[in-house]
């Protein structure tokens, strides 16, 4: 008797140990997911934060007769490898625009070349020892220093890493998102209103419903193929533009907006509708004056989340040609443009080592925008959420 009691309690102990193991394993899984996230963010910050710093040189620009023909003549010969080529290039132009510069000299901070920048950040560079010595001397005398890289936020793309900035991509993103929202928001909300408030539950509505759920799960690259075949080749929308990109992304965002709007509409209690019908409102009046305003916070939250999703999308935009080299800020919806994730992709493909930090820097900007968008969606939901 006591023997079997012992056996059972041993067995019980084993079972409890096993039970505890499952708990620690599942805890470990969550911890693993969290550590992925931590490693990822640490890695991006580590690689990307240097992009917000840029080496600058304090040089004496000598606007001589010779400099008006070749910018190189305007600066000290030792410094010619240290100053960015972009600076040298504009000197004759400056002189042509402002003839009074001739014969004067000026002390100012200018961009250092990408190589110098990388050298000061401790990366491997192709500079020879002589140049390195010069740089070290200049750093000691305070003529070369790291400054906040304002150009990264105010300039467009460039093949020279020290000149490349994210401005044109930001503008492209904003324009593309305007198109996306202008199409997806009204159509999405209208579809959801139709399905929830107007449509009878028949074959057609079921078909639409299945179709929407399916659209939400179709690989994004196929939307790109649609954009190329239908929008560009058939309707003749110009390639690479915010217009075609926005239209393609709108179709992708549509299911997200529809699904979240339907959830928001469904959460409005029927008593509201009954009361409104009771005082003689027509169906559309019920929806417009009572149901939609009450569902608005939920609709906005869903739309912001959909927008954030569209903003991070790259694959369909590659297919419609929005991965392009865009040095200048796009001015119109029918001009070639690029968007932030596409810019990240372009930079990631640059062979120059200096573009790695630009890529990571662009990623930090993109993530900051996306996280603040999502956070605002969460806040919106928290603030206006109503439990009926």
């Amino acid at each position: 008797m006591s023997d079997s009691f012992e056996k059972i309690s041993q067995q019980l102990e084993r079972r409890h140990r096993k039970s505890a193991r499952l708990k620690y394993m599942s805890m470990g899984a969550l911890a693993l997911a969290a550590s992925f996230l931590l490693i990822f963010f640490a890695d991006m910050l580590n690689k990307g934060l240097p992009a917000f710093q840029q080496a600058m040189v304090n040089i004496e620009v000598n606007y001589s007769e010779e400099a008006s023909r070749s910018g190189r003549a305007a600066i000290d010969r030792d410094l010619s490898d240290i100053v960015s080529r972009s600076v040298v290039r504009v000197i004759p132009l400056d002189m042509r625009n402002d003839p009074s510069l001739l014969g004067t000299t000026e002390q100012r901070w200018v961009l250092a070349s990408g190589e110098v920048d990388q050298y000061l950040k401790g990366n491997l560079v192709r500079l020879d020892d002589e140049d390195k010595e010069i740089i070290d001397r200049l750093v000691e005398s305070g003529k070369v220093e790291m400054q906040f890289n304002t150009g990264f936020f105010s300039r467009g793309d460039s093949k020279m890493p020290e000149l490349a900035g994210i401005m044109s991509a930001v503008v492209g993103t904003v324009m593309t998102m305007i198109v996306t929202l202008a199409i997806a928001f009204p159509i999405g909300v209208m579809t959801a209103v139709y399905l929830e408030e107007f449509a009878a539950d028949n074959r057609l509505t079921q078909l639409i419903e299945i179709n929407i759920n399916n659209l939400a799960a179709i690989p994004s690259i196929l939307f790109g193929l649609l954009g190329l075949a239908i929008f560009i080749n058939f309707f003749g929308v110009p390639r690479s533009t915010p217009l075609v990109g926005g239209m393609t992304l709108a179709l992708m965002t549509l299911p997200v907006i529809i699904i979240s709007t339907r959830t928001a509409l469904r959460s409005v209690p029927d008593s509201i509708r009954h009361a409104a019908f009771g005082v003689g409102c027509s169906r559309w009046q019920v929806v417009r004056d009572h149901v939609l305003p009450l569902a608005m916070p939920g609709i906005m939250t869903g739309s912001i989340i959909g927008l954030a999703q569209a903003m991070g999308e790259t694959a369909p935009l590659i297919i419609v040609g929005m991965v392009a080299f865009i040095p200048d800020v796009t001015a119109s919806f029918t001009d070639a443009a690029t968007v932030m994730p596409a810019q990240v992709f372009t930079w990631a493909n640059e062979p120059d080592r200096a573009f790695v930090e630009k890529t990571a820097g662009g990623i930090i900007v993109l993530l900051a925008v996306l996280i603040s968008l999502n956070a605002s969606a969460v806040m919106l939901r928290k603030k206006f959420e109503r439990r009926w």
């Binding site: 409890h16 039970s19 997911a33 449509a199 799960a217 690259i221 196929l222 299911p255 994730p341 993109l366």
Partner: protein
């Protein structure tokens, strides 16, 4: 075509007519009512009806005209179309005005129009699916006219490089034609997907179990948004992470144990894709586990099962359809994922099962075909559509099975919020 002068004129005149319709109709309705006649609808409703009567048919006609011009290539002069639309708008205005009378139900009429407009919006999603289908199938058929379907499905060599020479009329000079055997591409795609699932399913499912069964409220409040952040990171960012951080790390580890790894190895995109999919699996599984009725847990615990046994033998089996459905959704996402593999996986089709070698995927080849400087109707560009068609069919099947599974679960436990 989209924004040109006739279009602006059309919008301007229509706007003007609309505003005119609104104010005159309202004035007339107010006057009728002021004269003491009881009307079915409010003056504003008559006004809106007049606007709809003015603008609606005109917009429909011009849209139809533009569509016919584009679709059938019929040569309708823009000017006459414009004129016809505006005349129609004027007729609509007149009709709308005569209908401003006491026994006309303006409210119901507007209601009907709104219902049709909303239904029209709802068909956009169907048109989108049709559009995808038509664009892909159409071009894929063109491709299968050049290359046999059988060869595409069973061939083991993917070498589209020569098609460029063929298209340029110098095909005879090139040794052999282009070959489009998609087996290595699909092998690569499924292999990388398998790696991703091997990472995502255990981690995602166990996280969901922890969050659903063990985690205190505070941990849950932190963990859920954290996983959502993981889902919100753009794929191009994951791709960069895979190519710059994970792949070199794997090469270094492989080196240290004496293995030779490519920088474009399949492991890096697979693992990173797995990380990307964790939240998809964990959040749906979490919902499903929460939906398993508590009575089942209570029954199991009352029989003397430990908590671990209850979860393993009662909760998870009950939630299985939902978990499978979540995994299938995750899998279809992994199959169609583009940026991670474009940036971190190789370009070279390679039929192998060594995860340290480079291999390529369907989506990589689609992007490669679309970004090359080729003519649109070259075989390589069209091959992208053929690949897209297969991708569409496979993901569609996975999604449908997933939907059926989750519906079965929902019906079994009468859960409505899944």
């Amino acid at each position: 075509m989209l924004i040109n002068n006739p279009f602006l004129i059309f919008c301007g005149v229509l706007m003007l007519l609309g505003v005119m319709a609104f104010f005159t109709a309202r004035k007339k309705a107010t006057q009728v009512r002021a004269s003491g006649t009881a009307m079915f609808s409010q003056p504003d409703q008559y006004a809106w009806f007049a606007v709809v009567a003015t603008a609606g048919p005109a917009i429909l006609l011009s849209a139809l005209g533009a569509f016919v011009m584009l679709l059938l290539g019929a040569d309708i002069p823009t000017f006459s179309l414009l004129l016809a639309s505006l005349v129609l708008a004027a007729i609509g205005l007149a009709v709308g005005m005569t209908l401003v009378r006491a026994n006309f139900h303006a409210r119901q009429a507007i209601e009907r129009v709104i219902r049709w407009v909303l239904a029209g919006a709802a068909t956009v999603s169907i048109l989108t699916t049709l559009g995808i289908l038509i664009s892909i199938v159409g071009q894929a058929l063109n491709f299968f006219q050049m290359h046999s379907f059988w060869e595409f499905i069973t061939g083991t060599t993917w070498a589209p490089g020569n098609s460029f020479l063929m298209a340029a009329g110098r095909g005879e000079g090139a040794s052999g034609g282009a070959e489009f055997g998609s087996v290595p591409l699909f092998a690569g795609t499924f292999f990388i997907t398998a790696i991703a699932m091997a990472v995502a399913v255990p981690v995602g499912l166990l996280s969901a179990i922890y969050m659903g069964e063990y985690a205190p409220r505070r941990v849950r409040a932190v963990a859920k948004p954290m996983l959502e952040v993981l889902a919100g990171i753009p794929t191009v960012v994951y791709g960069f992470f895979a190519a710059i951080t994970v792949a070199p790390f794997i090469v270094r580890v492989a080196d240290s144990i004496g293995l030779d790894a490519s920088f474009n190895n399949a492991l890096a995109p697979g693992i990173v894709m797995g990380i990307m999919i964790i939240p998809f699996i964990s959040s749906l599984s979490d919902d499903v586990i929460n939906a398993v009725p508590d009575s089942m847990r209570q029954g199991s615990l009352a029989l003397g099962m430990t908590k671990g046994e209850t979860i393993r033998d009662v909760v998870v089996p009950a939630a299985l359809p939902g978990i499978i459905s979540a995994s299938l959704l995750g899998m279809s996402r992994a199959l169609g994922e583009t940026m991670i593999v474009v940036m971190a996986a190789g370009m070279r089709p390679n039929l192998t099962i060594n995860p340290l070698e480079e291999m390529t995927t369907v989506t990589v080849r689609i992007v490669a075909a679309m970004t090359g400087d080729l003519e649109f109707d070259s075989a390589e560009t069209l091959s992208a559509f053929a690949l897209g068609l297969v991708l569409f069919v496979v993901t569609l099947a996975l999604n449908l099975v997933s939907v059926i599974m989750i519906r079965r679960f929902r019906e079994k436990y009468r859960v409505n919020n899944l």
